[in-house]
Structure formats: structure tokens, C-alpha cells
Symmetry: C2
Subunit: 349 residues, 2 copies
């Protein structure tokens, strides 16, 4: 194309075209700024790790914790480790409706991902674990988990490995007897506190405006406008409060739930906690089907639609659902390299 062929009228037309194109572009840019501002206030980017006053993260604890995370020989059937139900390859969940523990014992609820899990108000769907450390420790003797008869039994096995003795000493240098179930929990917890997956959403919040697609941004807007953030707030997009599941209608009306779960009532015995669950973290939610506390819904779009119906009391349009799902995909993050390498476990030899 040769611009010299244009007459004055032609030049004006081009100028007008450029202006017309520029307006929506400028508007989008301004929209991005506004969206970033709103999302930053209520959601915000992931931190580099999830520290805890009670369990400071150290390289020695992380190293040991990662090994213990993969260790099956401290379970009653020798086949259960943290990584059994929380494999890194499946983003720290297991893809099952409900997890399976030692000797094929069934767990009561769906497996939440261990990624980005450590900064919640509590662990497990019904909040019956106070922290990732508490979860790790109780799993050792949990009937549908490791199933060990006692913490002493676990400690005895760990002490039979010289290398573990050395690593526990290094991780807990001021402890007289460092090989304990409490320190197992602290080491695993320290490792889990590094299981953070920064995603396109975080890049967007930090100013990389093309880190999310137009649809994902629209979905983020819808996610905020429709009130999903009323429960799913914080950088973890959840995990900060409890909520009744089925605010407007009973959830089992829309799910394929095999039985009704009374939720947090089992923990508190308060009538007000009936059908109450912890609001789940939505980080990597697109990578961790099936959905809900009982894994009763396979597809994310169904989960979003049902949530709109029973939690917000409204029928989200097909477009709104698709936009939100698109946004949720922008929460799929990158697993840190240090997390995705498998450690070598010690031998009794």
C-alpha cells in the first residue's frame, strides 16, 4: 500500500479510524487498571511462601519435610504417604471423588489440594484440622489415612533410618530428641508452606495486562460483580471462612451426592453449623476435578452454575458461567521446581 495515493479526505478517514480504534483500546487499558485495583483489594497476588509463627520455614525443615512427604513406610500398610493422596502430578489432589487411605479405607470427603493450602483458617472441608502441621500429624494415626496405632510407632520406624536421625537433628538442632511426630508435622508443614503456584492471575495483578485473556478478565469482573468473592476472597481465592453449602436450596438437589453430609456440625455440634463447610481455595481449581466436598460434580462449569444457583440464588447466564470458568483457568499456576523434584528416601541398609 502506498500512502501517497491518499488525498486529504483519505487522510482524514485514516485519522478517524485510528481515533476510533484508540478509544476502546484506551478504555480497555483503563478497565484493566480498574480491574486490577478491585481484584487487588479483595483477592491479591500470592506471596512467595506461607509462613507461620509457630513453625518458621528453614531449608533443613523443607528438605526433610519433602522426604517425609513421600515416605510410605510410616503407614500401617506401608503404602500411604502424603503424596499418595496429594500427588504433585495432579496438582496436589488425587482426582478421586473421595480419597482412599491405608488398606483401601475410604475417606469421608474429597481430597483438597495441598498447594496454596497452608494459609487457610483451618484444614479439611469441615475445619477439623487447625493447620497443615496439625493435618500432617493427625494423618499419621488417622483411620482412613496412614492408620498407625500410635505416634510412638511412627517415631520408632523413623528412628530406624540413620539418615532421618541426621536430618531431624539438622532441622531441629535445639531438640534433645528431634525424631518426633510433632517434628514430622513441622517438617512436612514447612515443605507445604512452600507449595505456592503463582499463576497468570498474579502476573495480571502485578501489571502484565496480557497475562490474562479478554474472556478471563471479563470472568474476573463477573466473579467480583456476582458476589463470588463474598466467600472466595484473599490471594487464595477461598479458605478464609466457613459457609453453609446450600444457602438458597439444598445442594443435593443439583449434585449427584450419594448422601447428605452435615459438614462442620460434626465438629462443633452447633445447629448453625449444619451443612457448613470451609470455603475451598480456588487456586488450580481447573486442574483438580471432581468438585465439591464429595466430588459429586465432574465439570467446572456445572460447579460454577450450581454455586450461582444455591449460594447466590441466581441463574448465571451461560456466558457468565463460561467467563468465570475462563477466569478460574487463570488461577492455574506454576509448580515450583524445588517442589516438583522427587527426593530419594533413605534405606535401612
Amino acid at each position: 500500500m502506498n500512502f501517497t495515493v491518499f488525498n486529504k479526505k483519505g487522510l482524514w478517514s485514516i485519522t478517524l479510524l485510528i481515533l476510533l480504534l484508540a478509544i476502546p483500546y484506551g478504555a480497555f487499558a483503563a478497565d484493566d487498571e480498574a480491574l486490577i485495583k478491585r481484584a487487588s483489594q479483595i483477592l491479591g497476588p500470592l506471596p512467595a511462601s506461607m509462613p507461620a509463627d509457630q513453625n518458621p520455614i528453614t531449608p533443613e525443615k523443607i528438605k526433610l519435610g519433602k522426604m517425609l512427604y513421600y515416605e510410605p513406610r510410616i503407614s500401617v500398610d506401608g503404602a500411604v504417604s502424603c503424596s499418595k493422596c496429594h500427588p504433585v502430578a495432579l496438582y496436589g489432589a488425587d482426582g478421586l471423588k473421595k480419597s482412599v487411605g491405608h488398606n483401601c479405607k475410604g475417606n469421608p470427603r474429597n481430597d483438597p489440594s495441598v498447594f496454596n493450602a497452608a494459609s487457610q483458617i483451618s484444614e479439611h472441608w469441615i475445619g477439623n484440622r487447625t493447620s497443615v502441621e496439625d493435618q500432617a500429624k493427625q494423618a499419621l494415626i488417622g483411620p482412613p489415612a496412614f492408620g498407625m496405632p500410635s505416634y510412638e510407632a511412627v517415631e520408632k520406624i523413623l528412628r530406624s533410618y540413620k539418615e532421618y536421625e541426621t536430618l531431624f537433628k539438622a532441622a531441629f538442632p535445639s531438640d534433645k530428641e528431634p525424631v518426633t511426630a510433632d517434628n514430622f508435622a513441622k517438617a512436612v508443614g514447612a515443605f507445604e508452606r512452600t507449595m505456592i503456584t503463582p499463576a497468570p492471575f498474579d502476573a495480571f495483578l502485578s501489571g502484565t495486562k496480557d497475562a490474562m485473556t479478554v474472556q478471563q478478565k471479563r470472568g474476573l469482573g463477573t466473579f467480583i460483580d456476582q458476589g463470588c468473592v463474598g466467600c472466595h476472597f484473599s490471594p487464595y481465592v477461598g479458605g478464609q471462612m466457613y459457609q453453609k453449602f446450600g444457602m438458597f436450596e439444598p445442594y443435593q438437589k443439583y449434585t449427584k451426592s450419594d448422601k447428605v453430609d452435615e459438614g462442620r456440625y460434626a465438629v462443633t455440634k452447633n445447629e448453625s453449623d449444619r451443612f457448613v463447610f470451609k470455603v475451598p481455595v480456588l487456586r488450580n481449581v481447573a486442574m483438580t476435578p471432581p468438585y465439591f466436598h464429595d466430588g459429586s460434580v465432574d465439570r467446572l462449569e456445572d460447579a460454577v452454575r450450581i454455586m450461582g444457583k444455591i449460594q447466590l440464588g441466581r441463574d448465571l447466564t451461560k456466558e457468565q458461567v463460561q467467563d468465570i470458568v475462563s477466569f478460574l483457568h487463570a488461577l492455574t499456576g506454576k509448580i515450583p521446581e524445588e517442589v516438583s523434584t522427587v527426593p530419594v528416601l533413605p534405606s535401612t541398609e
Copy 2:
């Protein structure tokens, strides 16, 4: 120390001392050369990978194969993957006496490591799998393994993941329908053919004389002299022949075997194959207790002692056993970085 204080006699003494020290050093050096020569003839260093004419290794196959190695969603209970029984963290074995498959179904024999396994005459203790590819494929429908009703059922699941469709196409570009159980087997096999663990023993063979300790070298000499290499030969230190277990006495006389296993007889129905098993690869043997086809022996020194007794018809001395065990530790290799990183598996979303 000031050398000028020495008189002539002192200098002579030093010269003599140096000579005395030099003689055994020289003798050791010559011994090392001879040992390297002998060991190279009958054992030899590991190759960089274990190629196969039938299944050329390509980066695309390795990438896909590694993902499939970790994939549990193609098992009947959604919980069995190759890595369940062959976790990298435990050097590709599972630490159990006998492996456990889908729905806690018991396997008949102890889990052999998948590392350095692809260049054997066959797979499994009784040689009822012709190759790692054959093993991978049959595991999919194996009753105590993945337990799937048919290969078609596996293929249907794999095809439900767009990413797998793409990766199979990339790995098998000339296939019209690349997502097949045969190609699953080829991809997993290609990955397994890279599961090689070079060890101090290999460094020693290639001339790094201090890569093995004096005891390990003595143990290597004993391992050769006592005739262990009669069966445990090749760079894999085994895996190249079948042999009756209990040449001089029935094995169950010395093990805690719960029942007598007829071995390869189950495959061939030849009377001569009764109690015959494939000679196992001894690479990383110190990292993969318990021992023997039924995992009936916990300690490596017991395994070595029993092998001397029932396979060679002799009582190895305590020192000989300890030396051999020490040598076997020099077979503990380094897991390649590419093998020890966990892949991310696709989601249906």
C-alpha cells in the same frame, strides 16, 4: 618441621619410609587395574540408556511416557499408576514384601525396581513379560495391577484428554490413530529406557580408582571370585538368565517365605523350570529392600549369606558377606534429573 635438621641417616630413613609406603600403593594401583579389567569383562559400565530396535527412544515419547508413568486415572479404581508400585523416591520399587494393586489386590511377588530394568532377557520374576513395553501394556488389564476391563477402556479415557491426544500425535506422528494401548506401552517403555543410574562402580570401571572404597573393591573381588557373577553378570549385574532358586538347598529353609513359589514353571510348565526365577538386577539393591521374589528377607547381609549357602553351596565368612554388601552399595546410582522431576498431568477442563 625443618628438613635441614636431618642428618644423612635421617634422610635415608625417610627415603626408606617413602619406598615402603610406595610399594603397597603401587601394588594397590596394579590391583585396581587388574580388578577393573576383570570387572569390565564380566560386568561393565552402564550405558547412557537402554535402547530397543522395536521402540526407538525419542524426546516426544519420553515426555509422554513420563506423564503416563504417573497417570492413575487409567486404572479401574483411579489410584494405580506405574509410579504407585515403582515410585522414584524409593528407587523404582515400593518397599513392600509384595506389591498392592487396584482395590488392594495383592501381587504374587516382590516388586522389582524399574530402574535399569529395560535390558533384561524378560521382565517380572518369572519372565512372563517380554519387555518393559509388554509389562507396561499388560499391567493396564492385569488383575492385581491397573485392573482395567480392556485396552479399549484405557484408550477411551486417554482420548478424553485433549492434551494426551496432542502428545500421542507428536510421539507417533505416522500413526493414524496414535492413542492406543500399544503406544501407551511404547511411550512408557521409552521413558523407562532412560531410567539408568550410573553409580560409583561405573566411575571405578572408567578409571576413577577412589570412586570405590577399599572394602568395596575387596567385595567386588569376592563377588567375582566366589562365583556370584556366574549368574549376576552384565552391566546390570543380573537380569540376563534364569536360574533355579535353591541349587543346593530349598530356599524356604533359610527365608521366612510364607509359601513355596514354583517360579517359571507357571509360565512354561516344564518340570525343569520348577523354582526357577529370573536372576534379578542388583543395581541399587541396597536401596530396595526387602529381598528375594517374595520379599521374605529384610537385610542385604542375610540375602548375601543365604545366596552363598543355597546357590553356591558354601558358607561365606562374615567378612566376605560384609565385603560383598559393601560392594553392592557401590551399585547405588544417581537418578537422572530428567527422571526425578514430576510432570504435570492434563485435566479434563
